[in-house]
Structures are given as structure tokens and as C-alpha cells.
Amino acid sequence: CSSGTRFPNGDGTDGEYVGFATLPNQVHRKSVKKGFDFTLMVAGESGLGKSTLVNSLFLTDMYRDRKLLNAEERITQTVEITKHVVDIEEKGVKLRLTIVDTPGFGDAVNNTECWKPVADYIDQQFEQYFRDESGLNRKNIQDNRVHCCIYFISPFGHGLRPLDVEFMRALHQRVNIVPVLAKADTLTPSEVERMKNKIREEIDHYGIRIYQFPECDSDEDEEFKLQDQALKESIPFAVIGSNTVVEAKGRRVRGRLYPWGIVEGNAMGGPVPAGTGTSRTPSPSCGPHAGGLGRGAGGAP
């Protein structure tokens, strides 16, 4: 019998239909019951809008009780690793989201090897998983490995800074790096284009292996394929995050209100002027490629 056919014979009989084609649905139902784990790391110097973007992406307010240090306090601060865990549910699907933050990264006067605590943390999670895997009770292993690291690149430079290059080179073998161009509303469309080209060129030049979104299946429809292609060409994603709701054209949206206009930062691919690619980010982490990020973390990239 042909394993691919879903539909019985045209005359309404079952024919040679066995029924194991429902397997994906069964897996789906079990997974949904179990819930998903996802660990997302955000890295980059302070003030690039990391927390705002995280809140924007997942429509939460994770950093309510955060206390920001002033410059004098930061002089003696070292890079910390902090974790925020939040359980999100949408349409019956449960997600346990862990956000790993790296406050202090890149802020000091001397930032030599400031990526080391980050690399150590990632290695520790791998070590932990490895031990759990080798252990006797493997039923409920908690996967705390970092599945994806969003690295924030400053829009105020001329491309990658020495620190950006160092960080990504130290970490690209350990974690899936998704570079984003932060606070993109600072830049005009031509500046965004120029920055992206420069960054892409430099990533190539320095041999940095950022996360490659997997090719979409050949049987997907054309529109999806085009969308996927456009997504890949937008890397690094130029992002704008917002925690505030503003009124624009009679609608209430998440955005930023300037004296010269309103920027809509609404994540889920809302109306966006062509060519800016600003609203694209959430799709990869939450949409079609989320599974890929999870798989990617398990094996070597």
C-alpha cells in the first residue's frame, strides 16, 4: 500500500488505508499536553533595547522590578547571567520560556574577554544536560540549554564593532546566533540597507557562523517560499521594540511616539513600509523556524 495517501478511494471505501498517517497528529497532541521549553538568550551592550524587545516579542512585562545601575556603579560591575522564566499559553499550547540576560556585557571601560561568563554559562548547561542524559532517571530531563542567542548590534556604529566580532566568534560554535540591528527607527531606510550590507559583509569576512534558517520544504506553496526567502535576505533583522501603546490612525498599537511621527513596532508582521524589514523578527523565533532553533541547539551547528 502507498504510505503517502491520506484519502481513501474516491468511492467512499477505506481501500488500502491503514491509518498511521495520523501519527503526526498524535505526536502533536502529546507535545501540546507536555508543553514546550525554549531558552532564549539576549546579549549586547546596555541601552540597545533588549528588554523592551523581549517584552515586545512575547507581549509580557518581564523586567518590572529591574533596577538599572548608574555609570558609577557599573564601573566595578562584572558581566552577570540572569534568568527570567515565564509560562506562556496561547490557544492551548504551553510554552515555558526562559530568557537569559547578560547585564554588564560591553559596558566597562575594559571589556577584554567579557564574553567568557556567557560562554561558560552555555557550556555549563551542556554539561548539565550531558550528565542528565547519562543518568539513570531520564524521564524528566529539564532542557536548560540555550537554544538561541539574539545578539544586538548597535545602530550607532559603522557596522560591527571589535567587541561584536569577538563575541560572535567566541560563541558561534556553541549557540545559534541570530544577529539583530537594534533601535532601527534611528536609521533611515537607506542607512538600514547600508548597515545590513556592511554587517553581512563583515560576518562573512570574519568567518562568523550565524544561525542559518533551514530551507523550507519543497512542497510548501510559493507564497511561503517567497516569504522564507525574503526572511533570509533580511538578516540581520532591523528591530524596533516598544512597551507602550500609542494611538495611530484610529487604532491602538504598540509603538513609539515622536514629534515627527509614530513608529509602529508591532511585532507580528503588521503593516510595514516595504524594504525596512522592521517587523520581521518575531516570526523566526516563534513561527516556522522555532523547531529548527531547538534542533540546532542539540547538535553541533
Partner: protein, 350 residues
């Protein structure tokens, strides 16, 4: 005939001995008025016009330094300030040029003319500042450069046959560019300003201010002002150099409300409401550089060029340079430093 000035001086001396506030001086304070009526208009006030004419003929020097991480729009801002291409924009470091390992100092001079007045403007750029992974002591080359200019001036001054008009290469104003993170100052910002506010006039500006909404800007400025105060950083205009009450009120307002100026620079023009304005065109609107509701560039320009230009030079000469000079003379045991000429004379005398 002219008893006035002499008498008021004695009177001032007397009032020191007898510390009673005298409401009505016995001798009128402007006796010239009375005598002037007898002789007619003297014309002493024309000295202002004479000075103006002389300045126009000789022109004047102004040296401005820009410091900040690369990409903060320093060159664009200077070009916008002086409405000319006086600073070459760096488009970043291409692969052949490496980022300088130490901070470089690049001084480029231009002569700008306006209304018959010639200004020799020198823009001093500091590429490489704050761009390394390890930025420790990256302000040292800058401090060294500033002191070298003081030294040059000092050597000219103590020269026996010194030039009529000593060329002034001293840094009159240092614009420090703060990155608009929205949080607070960086440790590097504090370190730089702590070290350099004692040798040069520092004017902190918040770069690329179009990153922030109005509320974010207000909050950020407040936080930065507080941090500067807590750390004892005296930026220009320094409180201790306010000459009189008028200065103090004016400067207080600037210090406590306007500074640091949140600026946006641009050398592109766009049409807005029938006018051509300098600005940035974003998909959400045009940011007008000279529009006070958009950013504070106009305030910075008026401050540095239209009201405090002369004062910046005076404070540099009367305060910072004098501090340097005093230190040098003290180190030398009260003797002026040797110049090439005095050294020769000294040797020939032996």
C-alpha cells in the same frame, strides 16, 4: 575737570572701611553725564566699533574638538553647526584600514567667512576613542594633545622676540558625544569627563537624539545631569567662572534645564511646508534639525556660536591656560620654560 572716576574709586575704598550700604552716593556715580553736557558727546563708546573693525580685519581662531565613539554623528554635527563640509565623515573602517590601536588626533583647519568676519576654524577629530575592546586610558592621547597646545603657546609667550599675534592652537571647546542609550552615562564617559573637565571646556551633547521619544529624552537628560553632578564633573559653563549675577542666572538656566543638548545633525535638505530645511527623512516623518520641538540642535548652535563663542576662548585663555602655565612655572622653580632661542642665548652666555 574729570573728578568723577577718581572720586568713585576713593569712595569704593571708603566703603570697605565703613561697611554700611550707602544708598545714595554723595558724588553722583556718573559725573561724566553732568560734565558731558558741558562738553558734548565724547565718543568713548565708539571703542566697541573700533574693536569690531579690528577683529574683522584680523579675523579670529576657533578650535573645536569632538570626542566620542565612532558612528555617533560627530562629523555630521560639526558640518551642520558651521553649515560647511569642515569635517570628513568616516564611513567606517573598511578592511584595509584598521581601527587605530590608540586614539589618533586629526586637526583640520578651514577659513569660514560671514558678514565680513573671517574665522579660522580648526576641527580636531579623535578617531579610535572608545572603539576598542579595552579602552583603558584612551583619553590620555587627548589630554596630551591639549597640554601640548598650551605648551606651544607658553613657549611663544616667553619668547624674547615673540610674535605680535601668537597663533592660537589651544582647544577652546570639546564636544563630548554621549550615546543615547536611554539609561545613563557609560563608565567611559565618566572617566573621560572627570579627567578632562579640568583642562578644557567640555560641552556634553547627547548624540543622535532622534532615537528617543520626548519622555525618554527628558528622563535621560535628568539622569545624566544628576550623574554629572554626583561625580563632580564641571562642564562648561562652569559654575565657578560665572562673572556676575547676570551671567549666573543665564548660565544656571542653561546648566539646569538645557544641557546636555540632545542633538540631531544632517547635511541633507528636504522640503517641509514650502521651506527647505536640514533634516532626516524616515518612513514616519521628516526630522527637522533646526526645529526645537524635534531636537535641540538650534540651542547648541546658538550657545556655542552665537552667544558663548568669545567666552569659550576667554575661559580657555584666562583659566585653563593659566592653570597650565602656573603648574609649569612652579615645576620649573618659578622660571619660564626654555625655548629654543633662550637656550641658545643661555649657552652663548656661558
Amino acid at each position: 575737570m574729570f573728578k568723577g572716576p577718581v572720586e568713585s574709586k576713593n569712595e569704593a575704598a571708603m566703603s570697605e572701611l565703613v561697611p554700611e550700604p550707602r544708598q545714595k552716593p554723595v558724588v553722583p556715580m556718573k559725573p561724566m553725564g553732568i560734565n558731558a553736557n558741558l562738553l558734548g558727546y565724547i565718543g568713548i563708546d565708539t571703542i566697541i566699533e573700533q574693536m569690531r573693525k579690528k577683529t574683522m580685519k584680523t579675523g579670529f581662531d576657533f578650535n573645536i574638538m569632538v570626542v566620542g565613539q565612532s558612528g555617533l554623528g560627530k562629523s555630521t554635527l560639526v558640518n551642520t553647526l558651521f553649515k560647511s563640509q569642515v569635517s570628513r565623515k568616516s564611513s567606517g573602517w573598511n578592511r584595509e584600514e584598521k581601527i587605530p590601536k590608540t586614539v589618533e588626533i586629526k586637526a583640520i583647519g578651514h577659513v569660514i567667512e560671514e558678514g565680513g568676519v573671517k574665522m579660522k576654524l580648526t576641527v580636531i577629530d579623535t578617531p579610535g576613542f572608545g572603539d576598542q575592546i579595552n579602552n583603558e586610558n584612551c583619553w590620555e592621547p587627548i589630554e596630551k594633545y591639549i597640554n601640548e597646545q598650551y605648551e606651544k603657546f607658553l613657549k611663544e609667550e616667553v619668547n624674547i622676540a615673540r610674535k605680535k599675534r601668537i597663533p592660537d592652537t589651544r582647544v577652546h571647546c570639546c564636544l563630548y558625544f554621549i550615546s543615547p542609550t536611554g539609561h545613563s552615562l557609560r563608565p567611559l564617559d565618566l572617566e573621560f569627563m572627570k579627567h578632562l573637565s579640568k583642562v578644557v571646556n567640555i560641552i556634553p551633547v547627547i548624540a543622535k537624539a532622534d532615537t528617543m521619544t520626548l519622555e525618554e529624552k527628558i528622563e535621560f537628560k535628568q539622569r545624566v545631569r544628576k550623574e554629572l553632578e554626583v561625580n563632580g564633573i564641571e562642564f562648561y559653563p562652569q559654575k565657578e567662572f560665572d562673572e556676575d549675577l547676570e551671567d549666573k542666572t543665564e548660565n544656571d538656566k542653561i546648566r539646569q534645564e538645557s544641557m546636555p543638548f540632545a542633538v540631531v545633525g544632517s547635511d541633507k535638505e528636504y522640503q517641509v511646508n514650502g521651506k527647505r530645511v536640514l533634516g532626516r527623512k524616515t518612513p514616519w516623518g521628516i526630522i527637522e534639525v533646526e526645529n526645537l520641538t524635534h531636537c535641540e540642535f538650534a540651542l547648541l548652535r546658538d550657545f556655542v556660536i552665537r552667544t558663548h563663542l568669545q567666552d569659550l576662548k576667554e575661559v580657555t585663555h584666562n583659566i585653563h591656560y593659566e592653570t597650565y602655565r602656573a603648574k609649569r612655572l612652579n615645576d620649573n622653580g618659578g622660571l619660564p620654560p626654555m625655548t629654543a632661542e633662550t637656550e641658545e642665548n643661555h649657552e652663548s652666555n656661558l
